[in-house]
Symmetry: C2
Subunit: 324 residues, 2 copies
């Protein structure tokens, strides 16, 4: 069987870690392969190096190397490079990268500079973290450099900042007026992305941010059409519990696009292709679009076991909808 | 008073640290300013980052941040980035950079990428290490990227490797047939270099490698002419003691250009502009070119005090030859 998932950062990565645990613990599912289509809208050039926060979070999490408390970055990190850059007066101080993490970014930038595509670079990094051995292929949504910018109005008139600056430095506290994904107009899906969606048995949407993660992936020409056209049921997991994001600032992102922060309203964003929607027990009475099968269960990914159970429930719903 | 010095890496940096100590301990010399013209032939792009070994060795040494045992790199280093790059299979493993050092190279590469010249970048790094406050200006010999390559004949026919590969990986044990400085044909002196030589009261040649450090600096169009034309006496310190380099592989470099490894023969390389030559007591009877004043004393820079005494002796000889 083949499962394809679209993923953002921390929530997506934890869900995927749970999915792999579920697959590896289920004898009948052990041969399942998984393709992850990762968001690259968060990508940013920092200190002259190309940083892909969401792809790296997936890599580090699946590679058992993530800083679990933080949700991103490497465990057991040191910050010698960052400290030295600070002493040299090199901004931005609001984005703190660890030394091991710098190794990833230096290698990625080197390889991109040598002419490799982001897909090729990501495949090399995935090798480092043992993804192929576990049947997992991680694809960036596109090899075209794109960057999500956030239009703010802080008093000095509307201006745009990079998504990371809004998310990390401003902690999404300044209301976003809208999101603009620079480069999206010329972005095409990375090799394998459309095929992975079309040939999947089940497509999963982890509880990633519906606007700046899943929403950005859906903005790449052809991806939304592939989801509409795939024979696989598309099953999503709500990133909201009782109207609040479990983690991150999905509510602030939804406000910017004028969508109420409810589990049902998030499902409506996907109404043209969604077949199943998993919400928290607290949201069991949420209203979902016609034709979407609603299921509820606890959605807190407190540990790998909890995430495995949630991913297993989403996959089961997908298999059920596929008639398998 | 203004002193200008041409410098390579470790030997040059230790001499300069001694010179500053001497100046700061001598009330009558305290207002002396020093311009250092640094060799950039050793520069190399590693891991996609621009590394300037000789400039950095001068910066770290004068900034009291050098790894004194090693002679280069930062004290109290960690190697997390290097370890991660190794795990990612990124060569070259023969060149080990520390995390703090990576901070320098990331900043330099960032600034160069932003369009700053190597001179401007070096000025920023010099600020970090307090050089301006001590009256020191560090200039790269040229802003043009140049790289010293070494032609070897290891059996498979002549081929060239980067100087650093010969020096660090091969430890200069494979005989060099010749040195080729790629880019030198279009290299021009960095802003301020010729003026610093022409307007100096004394020009010093520290005990740097006469072929791949001082020799490479002399290869930049106009620098040799400026040394011939300056009113300042040019005084050098022999990098050889009893025919052997105190440190490094100057003997292997001299062999490649067919020059005997004696203190006097090194002086002959500079005969068109050299006025004073300081050799070790062991070499007191060496033969120097006509017109060159020879002095001898112990030349082992065992610590800062020893280096200060040697630099003081070289400066005194220069002042004496200047009639000051």
């Amino acid at each position: 069987m083949h499962v394809t998932a679209l993923a953002g950062g921390v929530g997506g990565a934890r869900f995927l870690r749970g999915l792999l645990a579920h697959l590896e613990r289920s004898p009948e599912l052990r041969d399942t392969t998984v393709t992850v289509v990762g968001n690259t809208g968060d990508d940013i050039t920092l200190f002259g190096l190309r940083v892909c926060p969401d792809l790296d979070t997936v890599l580090y999490t699946l590679g058992s190397a993530v800083n679990d408390e933080q949700g991103w970055g490497r465990a057991d990190e040191s910050y010698a490079v960052h400290t030295e850059l600070g002493a040299l007066g090199v901004p931005p101080e609001w984005f703190s990268l660890g030394d091991k993490d710098f190794g990833t970014h230096i290698a990625r930038s080197l390889w991109l500079g040598q002419g490799l595509s982001l897909s090729e670079v990501t495949a090399r990094l995935a090798q480092r973290w043992g993804l192929p051995q576990r049947g997992v292929t991680l694809l960036p949504m596109t090899d075209t450099p794109v960057e999500t910018h956030v239009v703010l109005d802080e008093g000095a008139g509307p201006h745009a900042v990079h998504f990371q600056e809004w998310w990390v430095r401003l902690r999404a506290r300044v209301p976003a007026q809208r999101f603009v994904v620079a480069g999206m107009d010329r972005a095409t899906p990375a090799p394998g992305v459309l095929e992975a969606i079309r040939s999947a048995d089940v497509v999963l949407l982890p509880p990633s941010n519906p606007v700046v993660s899943i929403g950005v992936i859906l903005g790449v020409a052809g991806i939304r059409d592939a989801l509409r056209g795939t024979r696989a049921p598309v099953v999503g997991v709500s990133p909201l519990v009782s109207g609040r994001p479990v983690r991150g600032h999905a509510d602030a992102c939804l406000a910017a696009i004028g969508v109420p922060a409810t589990a049902g309203d998030v499902a409506s964003l996907y109404s043209d292709f969604l077949r199943g929607w998993l919400v928290d027990e607290a949201d069991a009475d949420t209203v979902v679009p016609t034709g979407v099968t609603l299921r509820s269960r606890g959605l807190l990914m407190t540990d790998v076991d909890a995430a495995a159970a949630i991913a297993g429930a989403a996959l089961s719903l997908g298999l059920e909808l596929a008639g398998k």
